[in-house]
Structures are given as C-alpha cells and as structure tokens.
Symmetry: C2
Subunit: 357 residues, 2 copies
C-alpha cells in the first residue's frame, strides 16, 4: 500500500526528531511492504523565514490532500517579535482548525524502565501509569470570539468567549468513550460546571453520550480537583476527556508527572481517519543541533499514525516494541540520564530503534 | 481594641474547625488584651436549610458592617439537587463579589515536620516550599456574561465570557508585587497570552505595574507550563499571580503538592483592610462529627486575619508558633497520620494549640 504523509519538520529540534522518525517508518515500510511517501511542507518559524507567513496556503492544501501529517515542533525565541497573528504557534492553531482536528489524544504513561524519572514518589506511581487525555481541540475559548471593549470604571478591557455546542461535545465524548472501551472502561470528564454555563452543557451532553456505553464508568470532576488528583493519585485515571483550555493544562500536568516528556507522543484526529501526529514536547531551541534531542516522542507519534490513521496495528506495535527494547537494552538519550557521558545521540537513538524493527 | 468578626460556620466540618479557631483567637485576645466579637451569620447549605436561600441579604449586611469574616466551609451532597443559583457554592461567589474581595491569597507551604506528606520526591521539595498564589477573585470568566445561544450546525450552545479590564489587572498585580517585596522578590505571572486576548492585556498591565517595583524579578509563564513547573520544580516559585480561573486550578495543584491540605489557610482581601478568611480545604461531610477534622487550616486563617486585616503581626505570629509547637511536640490530627490511633481529635488539637499561645 501507498501512504502519503505531509511532513512539517518545523523549528529547533523539530527537523532532527522528524528525521529519525522517517528513518524508523522507512524500516517499517521495508519490513511490512508499505510505501510511505513523505512530502515536506513549511509551517511555523521556518515558514516565516522562508515565505514570510507561518502557515502558507500551499501547506494547508498539501496537508489536506495527504493521508496524515507528521509534525516535529514549531516556535522559538527567534520569532518572539513577530506580530501575534503570524507567531509560529498560530500555525498549529491554523492547522488544527483547517484540518478539522477536533480530538487531541495525549497519552501520559510511565515506561517501566524510566519509572525513576517521575517527580512523584514511587509508591504513588508503582504499578504503572497509563492515562490518555482526550482534549477537545477546535472549539472553546481558543476559537471563540475575542476582542477589546470598554471595561467601564476599570478602563479598557479585553475578552475571549468560551463556547461549546452540543455537537462539539458529543463528538469528543464519543472519541473518549470509544477509547475507554479499548482500555480500562473508565472515563473522567473534567469541567467547571459549578461556575460555567458551557461546562453545564458539557456535563449534560457527556452524560447523554455515556448512555450508549453502559460498560464504561463515567466520573465527573471539577478542573481544580482534577489538577489535584493528578498529583495525589494519578492511577485512578484511565481516559480523561475535557475542553480545549482545561485539556491544555491537564495534559501538560499529566505528562510532567511521568517525568519523561521526551517520550510522549500525541495524535490530533479529524472525522474519519485523518490525523496529525507530533511529540508533546516543544522545539527546545537551546539544544537544537547538539545531538541531545530525544526523538522517541516523535517516533511513537509515528506509531500512533500507523495505528489510528492507517489501521496498521501490528506495524505500530513493532515500533513500540523497538522503543521498549532500546530502553531495556539500557540505552538512554541525554534527557533520560541527566546528560551522562554514555548518552546516545539523536541519530544513534534513531539507528538503534530502526535496527530493532 | 475591639474587633468585629462575622462568622460563617457553614456546613460539614465547618462548624467544628471554626469553633477551635474561635477558641484560639479568644486565647490570643486574653493574652494580648484585645476584644474579638464574633457574630454568627448563615451562608451555604446551612442557610438554605434555615431560611431557604444560600446567601441571605442579612448575612451580607452584617458581613459588610464587620471588620472581617471568618468562614469554615460550605456545601455538601445534601444540597446537590438544589437549583444552580442557590447551590451552597453560590454563597461563596456572592460573598466575594458583594464584599469586593478581589485578591485571594493562597499560601502553599510545606511544614518541616510534615515534609514526608508531599506526593513529590523529597529531593524536589528539600529545603522547603513556600509559595503564595495570588488569585484574582472577582473578575474573569467567573463573573463574565454567560448564557445560551445557537451553535449553528453543531446545535444549541452555551458560553461564558472571560474578560479583564486594565484596572482589575493593575490592582491584583499590585497586591502580588507588594507581597513579593515582603518575601523573596519574585513574581511569576501566569497567563495564556499566546492564545487569549484577555491574557495579552493581563501580561501588558502586569509589566507596567512591575516598573514600579524595580527590585522584584518578574517572570511570565503560560498556564500549561506553570502546571508542569509546579510538579517539576515548585521551588522556583515565590509569588504566583494569575486570573480567577487559572488561579483556581493552580492554587489547588500547589496545595496538593504540599501534601497537607488540612494545614493551608487563605485570605480574600478587598480594597483597604477588609478580608474574608477560610481554610483551603472543603466541608468534608464524610468526616463531619467524627472528631477527625483538622482545624489547623482555619486556625492559620485566623492568624492571617490578625496580620492582614487587623495589622496584629505579633499576635498572628503567636498563633503560627503555637501550631509549629503542636507539630514539633509530635501531635497529629487524623489526616496527618493516616488515622493512626494516637491521632488527636479536632477539639484536642484546638485545646493544645490554644494552650501553646
Ligand atoms: C502553542 C500553544 C498554542 C498550544 C496550545 O495551547 O494548544 C500548546 O500549548 C499545545 O498544547 O499544543
Ligand atoms: C466552590 C467553587 C465555586 C470555588 C471556586 O472555583 O472559586 C472553589 O473551587 C474555590 O477555589 O474556592
């Protein structure tokens, strides 16, 4: 089979981690007899430098015409003084909206071999940790009306509207419940329905969707309590479903408690099978070009692409197994061993994982 | 001197922890020669039961006429089916708005004697932890316009408006910088200015205020990053200043990393010296009446009242010292010793601390 993948290498360490991922995917292609075609498209800081805008129309066109998008990371201090609407991050928001990527899956798991890295006490994460945050990605306050108005006595004001429609909540809730059915059958929906009208709608629609999934246990938590519980007892969670804004905060908190953010992939899915895949970490401009970047989060994002967009579960598993073997063999990238001299470089890591396929 | 304190004993363990706090304050009054007058006013679930509304006008009137308000905790499952606008939590929001309590101070500190209780590894909090979250409390999405509208293709929608005016940001920023001047001279302002217009206004006004405090270092963090940093390296923080919604989430996360939420007080301040003082924990209906409640968070809230509203620093310190001595003497309430048989009861705890004054 032929698969067309649009590739945003991006900024900072983006190009380095993407190169290793392509290396691994090509090895999978050889082994299983698939053709992965990669088409580079510019977005983010690199696109600003090349063509003066963070998300060229041509990038969106090619991405839409592809089967999936692989993205490294965008942004960096170099573009801090670019006007707001052309900042590299806008490329991410633009891609999400243009491609209809409403469901963001962010697994936060502790790898047995790296359990030590968690900032939490061993007794809190012993037995493992395996959470998926399902974040709504094209609605809410990120894309609501925003602007300036008169704040009366208090002077000029600025505002942003958090808004959710029933259909938006229903489709993201379905993603979460479908995911829970393949996992431990527990969904925790997070909102702030004691204060927000949009959260009350959210909670009501999630409850409606849950009626179609009688085998899945549904819990509702307020966002402040969820932020606490993630630190206190993260093992109570399986699938967490929440809004764009709360998902931004809680998924980052969840990835941090694993202690290995350089290992965590993500998927952003549209209706159908289309998806964009990228590491949870950012562009880390400070270590770009030093060989210290850990490509595993991006490599595992490639595995998610095989599983969710291409339906190639066995191939996806071959990548996950190869990563596990890399760790069990005792290899560590700089971020995983405090920069000890025996750290493998970005390229060596990609080579070793590709060799394990 | 005479001091008039309106007292909301509230629901669940509220009345028990307030009783011990009054005991301690009366001891302070005797020792230092002050008259504290306590006037009970109903709010929350108890008010719903007594008079059918969560925040009677008379409560607001008496609170406004007092020098300060002491509050236990409100809410509980008993009132889960009360209509939204009369839920016990609405009493809190109503008191904040009616009394103009725009600045919420939530210290998150690790007591040396209780460092073990933190869910974080000892090396992460070793050397102590002492953060104050300064949360804006009468603006933002909590009090913005909210309602229902047509969500087009996606069906009926609900919305909430996050809004900040320059004057609102300026006054909370000043509270944070003033606080930092008395502490380690570092303010971290948390926003989401890469996405929200209201955050861009927030960041700009905080920067303007910071010009009046050249000795205070100002850092800006995105809220997702702040949620991560609190787990990864909380010792980097001194004063955190943020919006109502972000402050709700981050202050709860910060209190959880101390591991001793039963110990944490809070203050909600208006212009001038008026303030409302309450523990960070909730009404814990499951342990109400069992003698297991830890009154220390409320007792320390009493100390904050003495310091911030009455300007009685020495008296405040006498309470803090009495609590420290209680801990150093090896006493523990049930929450601090996993319910071990040697736990002291709520009343014993209050007696022991009062005796230490
Ligand atoms: C860069 C930023 C706009 C983005 C977001 O807030 O969604 C990022 O934090 C993320 O979570 O992917
Ligand atoms: C009860 C609720 C409305 C309240 C809030 O969100 O402010 C509480 O969580 C708090 O932080 O005091």
């Amino acid at each position: 089979m032929n698969y067309n993948i649009a590739v945003v290498r991006g900024d900072g360490i983006g190009p380095e981690v993407v190169a290793e991922t392509i290396k691994v995917l090509e090895k999978v292609g050889q082994k299983f007899g698939h053709n992965f075609h990669f088409t580079d498209v510019p977005a983010g800081g690199a696109a600003i430098d090349a063509v003066g805008e963070c998300l060229p129309a041509e990038t969106v066109r090619i991405a839409k015409a592809s089967d999936a998008v692989l993205l490294g990371a965008v942004g960096g201090p170099k573009w801090d003084n670019v006007p707001g609407d052309q900042r590299p991050e806008r490329a991410l928001l633009g891609l999400r909206k243009e491609l209809g990527l409403f469901a963001n899956l962010r697994p936060a798991m502790v790898f047995d071999q790296l359990a030590d890295a968690s900032p939490l006490k061993p007794e809190i994460i012993s037995g493992g940790l395996d959470i998926v945050v399902v974040r709504e990605l094209t609605g809410g306050i990120y894309f609501g009306e925003k602007g300036h108005k008169d704040g009366g006595d208090m002077g000029p004001a600025a505002y942003d509207v958090e808004q959710y429609a029933e259909g938006e909540v229903r489709r993201i809730a379905k993603v979460a419940f479908d995911m829970a059915m393949k996992r431990s059958r527990k969904v925790t929906s997070v909102d702030k329905s004691n204060v927000l009208e949009s959260s009350r709608l959210w909670r009501r629609v999630v409850a409606e969707v849950s009626e179609d999934y009688p085998e899945v246990e549904l819990d509702n938590l307020y966002v402040d309590n969820a932020a606490m519980q993630l630190v206190r007892n993260p093992r109570q969670f399986d699938v967490i479903v929440t809004s764009n804004m709360f998902g931004d905060i809680l998924s980052d908190e969840a990835s941090q408690i694993t202690g290995s953010i350089g290992m965590l992939p993500s998927a952003s899915l549209a209706d159908g099978n289309f998806g964009m895949y990228e590491p949870v970490h950012g562009s880390a401009p400070d270590i770009a070009g030093t060989g210290q970047a850990n490509p595993i989060a991006t490599i595992l994002s490639g595995a998610m692409m095989l599983r969710y967009t291409f339906g190639l579960s066995e191939e996806a598993k071959s990548i996950e197994d190869a990563v596990n073997r890399f760790l069990s063999d005792g290899h560590r990238t700089a971020d995983l061993c405090g920069g000890a001299p025996e750290a493998v470089t970005t390229t060596q890591c990609g080579d070793l994982i590709a060799a394990n396929i």
